[in-house]
C-alpha cells in the first residue's frame, strides 16, 4: 500500500508542470499588445516576472488554453495540434503503467 502511494506521489510530481499550466495557467495581459507580439507578460525563464505577472494579468488555463495551443500547433501540419495532445495523453498513460 505504501508503495502504491509513493508511486502516486512520484507520478503527480512528474506531471506537476502539466497540472500547473492546466489548472493555474500562464499569466497573460488583459489587452493583447500589437499584432505578432505575445500576450505573455513574462519573459520565458524569468521566475520573478512570472510570479509577479499573476497580480496584473489574467490566467490563461484549462480547456481554453488547450484549444488555443491546439489551433496554433495545427498551423504547421494538419492535425498537428490533435496529434500533440493525443501523444501527450498516451505518454501519461504509459507513465502511469510504468509507475503503478
Amino acid at each position: 500500500m505504501f508503495r502504491f502511494w509513493k508511486r502516486t506521489i512520484i507520478f503527480c510530481i512528474i506531471i506537476s508542470p502539466l497540472l500547473y499550466i492546466f489548472f493555474i495557467g500562464y499569466p497573460i495581459r488583459k489587452i493583447a499588445p500589437s499584432p505578432g507580439r505575445s500576450a505573455r507578460c513574462f519573459k520565458v525563464g524569468e521566475l520573478r516576472e512570472f510570479v509577479e505577472c499573476y497580480r496584473e494579468g489574467v490566467r490563461f488555463n484549462g480547456l481554453v488554453m488547450m484549444k488555443d495551443v491546439q489551433n496554433k500547433a495545427s498551423s504547421f501540419n494538419p492535425f498537428g495540434g490533435e496529434l500533440f495532445f493525443i501523444a501527450l495523453c498516451i505518454q501519461i498513460l504509459i507513465l502511469l503503467a510504468i509507475l503503478l
Partner: protein
C-alpha cells in the same frame, strides 16, 4: 514489458517535441537547410567572407518566407505569426520552381557535407511527392530523427555494457534520450546529431571488439572517424581515441605503432578530398566561420587569464543541459537552471572520481573518449579568448560524450546517497520525465504558443 513501455515513452516524447517545435528554431537550421537545398541543385555553397558586403549569402526569398513566419527564438515576446503560417501552408508553395542562384554563399559553407548530402536525398524524395515547403522541411528533419534513434539505440547498448544491468541501462537511456539538448539535436536540421551517432557507434564498437586488434578493425576505425569528420570537423577527436584503443587493447607497442600509422595514413586518405576542396576554394585545408558568426569584443586576456576563462567557458555547456532551447533566450526558470548546473558538476566530478578509482577497462575507454573531446573544445575556447571572440561552447558540442556524463552522474549519485545503481537510475528516470514536462510547459509552449 517495461522495456517496451519505456521505448514507447521515448518515441512519444520525441514525437511531441517534433510536433510542437516550429521549423528553423534550432541553431543554424536555416543555413544548413539551404545548403541541402543547393546540393539538390548540384551546387555547394561557399562560405560567405563578409556578411556586410555579400548579399547572396542570404536566405532565398521563399525560404525566408517560411523563416519569417516562424520567427527565431532570440526575439523576445515575438511568437510565430500563425495566420501567416496557415496562409503559407494553404498556398502549397514548393521549392521545385525556385530560380537558380549563381555562386551561392552560406554562413555554414565551411562545414563538411556528409549530413547535407544525406539531407539532399530526403529533400529530393519529398520533391518527388510534390510536398509543400513546410512538409518538405519536416521530411528533411526526419533525417535527424533517424540519427537520434540510432544514437539512442547505441547509448542503450553502451549503458548496458558499462553497468551490465538491463534495468539501469533502460533508465539511463531514457535520461539520455529525453534531455532537451538531445531532443533538440534530434529535431534540428543540423549535423550535430549525426556526429553523436558516429561517436556512440565508435564507442560501442571499441567495447565489442575483443583483445586482439586486426587489420579489419583498423579499416573500421578509419571508416568511422572518416565519416565523423565528413559530418563535422569536431569528429576528429575520434582519431586520438582510436589510437589509444590500439595501444590499450593489444599491449604490443610495435604492433600498436604500426596500426596507428596505418590508421592515420588511411584516415588522411579518406578526408583528403575535403582538405583539397578547401584548399581549392579558400587556400587552406581547414577553415572556420568564427570571423563572420560573432563579435570580437572580449577584453584583452593574458595567456593565464585566457586559460582560466577557457575552462570557465564550459559553464554554458553544462547549463544548456538544463533545458536551453534555440539560439537565444529560452531557458527554464533561473533557479532550476542554476541548481541543475551545480548538481550536474558536483555529481559529475564525484562520479568521475569514483570511476577513475575503480579502474575497469570500459571506464578507462570512457575517460579517454570524454577527454579527447574536452581537450578539443578547451582549445577552441582558448582560441576564442585569445582572439577576443565572443562565442560560447554549447551543450550540443558536448552531446557526443553526454553518455559519459550520464555514467558519471549515476556513479556520483550512487556514491553520494550510498544507494545501489539500480535505485539511483530510477531517480534519473523520474527526474528526466519531470524535466521533460517542465521544459515543455515553461519553455517551449510559452515561447512559441502563448
Amino acid at each position: 514489458m517495461t522495456r517496451s513501455l519505456k521505448l514507447c515513452l521515448i518515441v512519444l516524447s520525441f514525437f511531441v517535441y517534433f510536433l510542437i517545435s516550429p521549423p528553423f528554431q534550432a541553431p543554424d537550421e536555416p543555413e544548413h537547410y539551404q545548403i541541402i537545398y543547393f546540393l539538390t541543385r548540384l551546387q555547394y555553397p561557399r562560405l560567405v567572407q563578409d556578411v556586410r558586403t555579400s548579399t547572396n549569402y542570404q536566405l532565398l526569398d521563399t525560404f525566408e518566407k517560411v523563416f519569417n513566419t516562424t520567427r527565431v527564438a532570440s526575439e523576445n515576446y515575438v511568437i510565430p505569426d500563425f495566420g501567416a503560417i496557415k496562409k503559407f501552408v494553404s498556398m502549397k508553395n514548393t521549392a521545385d520552381g525556385l530560380p537558380r542562384i549563381a555562386d551561392p554563399l552560406s554562413k555554414q559553407g565551411h562545414q563538411p557535407v556528409l549530413y547535407h548530402v544525406l539531407g539532399a536525398v530526403f529533400f529530393s524524395l519529398s520533391s518527388l511527392f510534390h510536398l509543400d515547403m513546410v512538409s518538405q522541411y519536416y521530411t528533411v528533419r526526419a533525417l535527424s530523427t533517424l540519427f537520434y534513434f540510432l544514437s539512442v539505440f547505441f547509448a542503450y547498448h553502451i549503458f548496458k555494457y558499462v553497468f551490465r544491468k538491463t534495468a539501469v541501462a533502460e533508465n539511463l537511456t531514457v535520461f539520455f534520450a529525453l534531455n532537451p539538448v538531445t531532443l533538440k539535436a534530434g529535431i534540428a536540421v543540423n549535423p550535430d546529431i549525426a556526429l553523436v551517432f558516429f561517436s556512440l557507434f565508435s564507442l560501442w564498437v571499441t567495447f565489442k571488439i575483443g583483445k586482439k586488434i586486426s587489420l579489419k578493425h583498423v579499416l573500421l576505425f578509419t571508416l568511422l572517424s572518416g565519416l565523423a569528420v565528413w559530418t563535422k570537423f569536431q569528429g576528429v577527436v575520434l582519431v586520438p581515441f582510436f589510437i589509444f584503443i590500439f595501444f590499450r587493447k593489444d599491449g604490443l607497442i610495435k604492433k600498436s605503432v604500426i596500426f596507428s600509422l596505418l590508421f592515420l595514413t588511411a584516415f588522411l586518405f579518406v578526408i583528403f578530398p575535403w582538405f583539397l576542396l578547401n584548399i581549392m576554394r579558400y587556400g587552406a585545408p581547414i577553415i572556420d566561420n568564427f570571423s563572420i558568426m560573432g563579435r570580437f569584443n572580449l577584453p584583452h586576456y593574458s595567456l593565464l587569464q585566457s586559460l582560466v576563462q577557457a575552462v570557465f567557458e564550459f559553464r554554458h555547456t553544462v547549463m544548456h543541459y538544463a533545458g536551453f532551447w534555440g539560439w537565444g533566450d529560452p531557458y527554464p526558470f533561473k533557479p532550476f537552471f542554476l541548481i541543475y548546473a551545480v548538481m550536474f558538476l558536483f555529481l559529475s566530478f564525484m562520479g568521475a572520481a569514483v570511476a577513475i578509482l575503480r579502474k575497469n577497462a570500459s571506464n578507462i575507454a570512457l575517460h579517454v573518449f570524454l577527454s579527447s573531446l574536452l581537450v578539443f573544445l578547451f582549445l577552441v575556447a582558448l582560441r576564442h579568448k585569445l582572439t577576443r571572440f565572443s562565442g560560447d561552447i554549447q551543450g550540443r558540442y558536448l552531446l557526443p560524450v553526454f553518455v559519459v556524463f550520464v555514467v558519471y552522474l549515476a556513479e556520483g549519485m550512487a556514491f553520494f546517497l550510498r544507494k545501489k545503481i539500480e535505485t539511483v537510475s530510477g531517480y534519473f528516470f523520474y527526474f528526466t520525465l519531470f524535466q521533460y514536462f517542465f521544459v515543455l510547459c515553461f519553455v517551449i509552449i510559452p515561447k512559441y504558443y502563448v
